[in-house]
């Protein structure tokens, strides 16, 4: 006789398997198709090789698009991070005495969090025209949305002792922020910005496809004119770029936070 616990587990397993199966049928998704229809992938791979690296030196637009993607990620992180920094002080309970301001800021930040990046980029493409500037603005919004809340939590978690000490000897609220809170949060602020740069770098590639410019746009163009050899070359460039940025960001974060403190 199977035990009660075994029966329970078996039921849960069966129910979830059926739900997954129904979902797959609903979406017309057949995982086995990946293997039965694999000749499509083979054909594609055949067309993709060998990568055409001539686009790197034949056409200056590739080099410029790489620079554009890096610049988009950099500017988006910098401005988004600075705005998020200011907003975080307005939303943290230990730096902002007025509850109304705190709540307005928090609601504003959560609004930015839930607005889909796709809408942001489509609106900015209409507002400032397609190109990397609309990508920068989108990244600014996305960065504020994802990091303002984190910075608020960091500010709220600082040790209150040093601040209270200088407050008790007559420091103003701004002086408390300047001499007690900022020195405490600066390392984790910079480390988070480096992480944001890494994330934004990947996002910048995606945004290019919707008119944000940069290497994502080049990739989309090469794909839509069926130049698959260029596509392969661009993908390898993207992989190298992402790995380099990730390694750089990891290295700098380790130097700032010290070994072993990486979250």
């Amino acid at each position: 006789m199977p035990s009660k616990r075994y029966k329970q587990k078996a039921t849960i397993f069966m129910v979830s398997a059926i739900v997954i199966l129904v979902a797959c049928i609903y979406l017309n998704f057949n995982p086995i198709m990946i293997f039965t229809e694999f000749h499509y992938v083979r054909d594609l791979l055949g067309e993709m090789f060998m990568p055409n690296y001539q686009i790197l030196y034949e056409n200056t637009s590739t080099g410029i698009s790489i620079l554009q993607t890096l610049s988009m990620a950099f500017l988006g992180t910098l401005y988004g991070g600075l705005i998020a920094f200011v907003l975080a002080f307005l939303a943290a309970s230990n730096t902002m005495p007025y509850k109304a301001v705190r709540i307005i800021t928090q609601v504003f930040v959560s609004m930015l969090r839930v607005i889909p990046a796709l809408v942001v980029v489509l609106v900015f493409v209409i507002a400032v025209g397609p190109g990397s500037f609309s990508g920068v603005l989108t990244l600014v919004i996305v960065t504020i949305g994802s990091f303002a809340k984190l910075f608020t939590e960091i500010i709220e978690n600082v040790e209150s002792g040093p601040g209270e000490a200088i407050f008790s000897v007559g420091a103003s609220r701004l002086q408390v922020i300047r001499y007690s809170i900022i020195p405490q949060i600066m390392p984790s602020f910079i480390a988070n910005l480096l992480y944001a740069f890494d994330v934004n770098m990947r996002a910048a590639i995606g945004l290019g496809i919707f008119g944000g410019g940069g290497i994502g746009f080049q990739l989309q163009m090469a794909k839509s004119v069926l130049h698959y050899k260029d596509v392969t070359a661009l993908i390898t460039i993207i992989i190298i770029l992402v790995i380099l940025v990730e390694k750089l960001s990891d290295y700098l974060r380790k130097r700032i936070l010290g070994e072993g403190k990486l979250g």
């Binding site: 995982p31 610049s71 796709l118 809408v119 507002a127 920068v136 590639i205 989309q220």
Partner: protein, 265 residues
């Protein structure tokens, strides 16, 4: 500044050079991107008047949005489920205390390679191979999971107390038994927490992937924009916002329930 010791140049010197460098890089980046404040000013005016255009939402289209939204959620859920299962396999292969070093290095290399390819690029390739549809979307989200969850879980498995594995080995358990009865129970809380976190990301991604050709609400959104039906686009946007908000809340609540130390907050 002489006489005022606290504000002396000497004290701020180590900030000046990095600051100049930062400003120079920012300027360079701004030139490359064509970013100017004039452009921003006219852009904001234009963008705001455009937002007025979108208002009010077209509530009649609301019921047309429900099925695509459900499709998007299903795509994200299936991608997360398949991705989590696959990433457990990859994590076990990539853990140094379970696998041979060459298996481990290969698995780590594959995970790292996947991590550095954005999901959108995978989707573009899959669409080139298989055509439009939900299948490329699900597969690219599945693969996306491996890069993130595989690495996190492998690190957790490597931190498991070696005494546990040795004691199971000494009792004659084989590799599969060690993995199933020794490793799995220990990583389940983290696994659930990471999978929920990834589900949040996948919901956001499924909207973007949908616009490129995976179907669902993202497609509705992009289509309404390109057909200049802005009121309809606004409705789709509200549906997406509700979707993102609800998943975030739900995942937060569930993760709180499976409270684990060191898990993502």
């Amino acid at each position: 500044m002489k006489g005022q010791a606290t504000y002396s140049f000497k004290r701020y010197r180590k900030f000046v050079l990095p600051l100049i460098l930062l400003i120079a890089v920012t300027e360079g980046a701004a030139i490359v991107c064509g970013a100017t404040f004039d452009k921003l000013e006219t852009g904001i005016v234009k963008g705001l008047s455009f937002l007025q255009f979108m208002f009010p939402p077209d509530w009649a289209a609301f019921k047309d949005m429900l099925e695509p939204a459900f499709q998007s959620i299903t795509i994200a859920a299936l991608g997360t489920i398949f991705g989590t299962i696959l990433s457990v396999v990859f994590a076990v292969l990539a853990a140094s205390n379970i696998s041979h070093s060459w298996v481990r290095n290969t698995a780590r290399f594959l995970i790292g390679l996947e991590r550095s390819v954005p999901e959108i690029v995978i989707l573009l390739l899959l669409i080139a191979a298989f055509g439009l549809g939900s299948m490329p979307g699900i597969v690219s989200l599945t693969l996306g999971c491996i890069g993130m969850l595989g690495k996190l879980l492998a690190d957790i498995i490597e931190e498991i107390d070696p005494a546990m594995i040795e004691s199971m080995e000494s009792l004659g358990a084989n590799k599969l038994q060690i993995i199933w009865f020794g490793v799995m129970p220990q990583i389940i809380p983290n696994l659930v927490s990471y999978a929920l976190f990834r589900f949040e990301i996948n919901i956001r991604l499924s909207v973007i992937l949908g616009a490129i050709g995976a179907g669902g609400i993202g497609y509705e959104l992009d289509y309404s924009f390109s057909m200049l039906q802005y009121h309809r686009a606004f409705t789709a946007m509200i549906v997406v916002m509700v979707m993102i908000f609800c998943t975030e809340r739900l995942s937060y609540m569930l993760r709180k329930k499976f409270k684990v130390e060191g898990a993502l907050q």
